[in-house]
Amino acid sequence: MIGAATLLIFVAVAHRYLVTIPIFYPYLFPIDLSWAQELCIYMFVWMAKFGAAYGVRTGIHVGVDVLINVVNPKVRKATILFGLLCGALFTAVIGTMGAKFVYGLSATDQVTPDMELPSWIVYLAIPLGSYLMCFRFLQVAYTFARHGHLPHHDHGQVEGIDEPHMPGTASEAAEAVR
């Protein structure tokens, strides 16, 4: 999704520049890419809603854990469970509000401004994403209550960096100036 959206905007920008070059004008002018931005936004909205649910499973959502890390383990466990259940509650409420909203919209002819897609389909991301997120919160809470295990994302780690091969490049770096 993120890759497609990137390409889409890149193509739209490239199109905007190339079309002003006279030799390309006749070929590119008939292509109308005014919907690109809107599509990109909706792709990201969908990505964000479902990605947020995925993020619950990978533990990527950051919180303020300074305080709960210093209290005694029993209190800590209870607090974390409370937090997870709050997450489930919030997403359930939002999911329901979203579902109502989408249901209301589906009765209208509301469409998006550029692509003229029915709005309710676009907005379906909210209830679906929220309910999925709610499910994930409950899942994580259950696992935590049973096994005391919590998913944790190491924010210090940028995806895809392989540390082992770095020392090799490091000596290269030092050598480069010898």
Binding site: G51, G55, M97, H155, S171
Partner: protein
């Protein structure tokens, strides 16, 4: 009164360690259900429209570009280039690390990513050269913070988004529009270079005092080779900044273009990454973006609640009748942000604080761009000190050092940053001169 309840609730929920996004959302819901007659429908509406904003889309694009760059061999070539230029001075590799961080910061929008990209190569090299580990870790953890000050910067995008569309009136009652991403990026250039120089100077001074090793001087030919090798990375700086300044791209388009560009140089030009790695990078970037966008959605709700209750205006009016001037106000802002930096990470702080501080600051005659740069420098400081400091965590991971030890290690540079914060706070021209010269204000 209502503002106190909102904040008390928010802080209480956050301290339980639940995700900040959830704490924000629950605060809004509780408040809406119990204390106000904001129609609940408008909350639903804001949930949908909160991130329907093309500017926000710069965030995932910059994250993606940053991830391609981080393991696309760009960092390594920048390090070589920096080393060939300044390696023979006092502080040698340390100085090169500061410069490499500054260069990498100019293509990446995130600080921790800068620490990783430069630190994971530079730190082992410095230790091997005979630098004390704590010196190396101190340099990297603090210089990496340049990632959000030197454009592009995800935190600046977040600031622009968080303040965009809010109503702010200057001392004479005229409406002041919020700072655009482009203005903020250009405004970050001079402070970024200044802070890089200051950090470099601290490095130089400490290395000179302790007589740390220097490297042999590189020849001009070696420098030229190193320059040519990293030219593709350096061109990205021109592409992003030049593109935004000249108006060739909007910041979001620049971010998308730089993601494509970073992909191409990582996979086809430098070939330090294979096509096989691409899905993993995409997934990682999407995961991180989704997390940030989710906070943004809920923060938009929260700032809608604030605006609806007129809280920033109330604070602004109270401040101006109490005779608080901009000097005192900014002092309070700094203390507040530094405190917040103890417990939260940068994006959340800016999303929560900026919409509140912005109207107040404008009312006191502070320029939106100045406030933005000031907040970013604050966030940089916050990243480098415990208990919550992303850069520290990252550096500790690379250096295999404990946080406490590292906290002592970063001290000299952290003090430099604090001094610089004072300078940026009280000399607005540092932030405003360049964009004004370029006719962007």
């Amino acid at each position: 009164m209502s503002s106190l309840i909102i904040f008390a609730l928010l802080i209480a929920l956050m301290l339980t360690g639940m995700p900040i996004s959830i704490a924000l959302g629950l605060t809004v819901l509780t408040y809406v259900f119990t204390l106000t007659h904001v129609p609940i429908e408008s909350v639903a509406l804001k949930l949908f429209t909160g991130i329907e904003n093309f500017e926000i889309m710069a965030i995932p694009f910059f994250i993606l570009a940053g991830n391609f760059l981080t393991h696309g061999g760009v960092a390594r070539r920048m390090i070589n280039f920096a080393t060939s230029l300044v390696g023979h001075w006092y502080g040698g590799l340390g100085l090169a690390a500061v410069m490499a961080c500054a260069l990498f910061a100019a293509v990446s929008g995130s600080s921790p990513a800068t620490v990783i990209a430069i630190g994971s190569i530079m730190l082992p090299a410095m230790v091997k050269q005979g630098f004390p580990k704590r010196f190396g870790a101190g340099v990297i953890a603090t210089s990496g913070a340049l990632g959000i000050l030197i454009p592009p910067s995800i935190v600046m995008v977040v600031y622009a988004v968080a303040t965009g569309g809010s109503i702010a009136l200057d001392p004479s009652g005229h409406r002041v529009s919020s700072a655009s991403v482009g203005q903020l990026f250009i405004a970050g250039v001079i402070p970024g270079i200044m802070l890089a120089s200051l950090l470099g100077f601290t490095t130089f001074y400490r290395a000179w005092k302790n007589d740390y090793p220097r490297l042999p001087k590189a020849t001009w030919k070696e420098r030229w080779t190193a320059f040519r090798n990293c030219i593709w990375g350096l061109l990205l700086i021109v592409l992003v900044l030049g593109g935004i300044y000249s108006g060739a791209f909007t910041p979001t388009e620049a971010a998308a273009v730089s993601a494509v560009y970073a992909f191409v140089i990582a996979v086809f030009v430098y070939r330090d990454m294979s096509i096989k790695d691409v899905p993993r990078v995409l997934l990682g970037s999407a995961n991180m973006s989704a997390m940030i966008l989710y906070i943004v959605t809920n923060a938009v709700l929260f700032s809608f609640l604030m605006a609806n209750e007129n809280i920033p205006q109330l604070i602004a009016n109270w401040m101006s009748t109490a005779g608080v001037n901009w000097i005192w106000f900014l002092l309070v802002v700094n203390v507040l942000l530094l405190l917040a930096g103890n417990v939260m990470e940068a994006t959340s702080i800016v999303l929560i604080m900026a919409p509140i501080l912005f109207p107040v600051a404008v009312k006191l005659g502070i320029h939106p761009v100045h406030l933005g740069v000031l907040m970013v420098v604050n966030m940089e400081v916050g990243m480098c000190h415990p208990p919550v400091g992303l850069n520290l965590y990252v550096a500790s991971g690379i250096a295999k050092m404990g946080i406490t030890e590292l906290t002592v290690a970063v001290m000299p540079w952290l003090l430099t940053m604090l001094a610089f914060l004072g300078l940026v706070t009280y000399v607005p021209e540092i932030s405003l001169w360049l964009p004004r010269m370029l006719g962007m204000l």
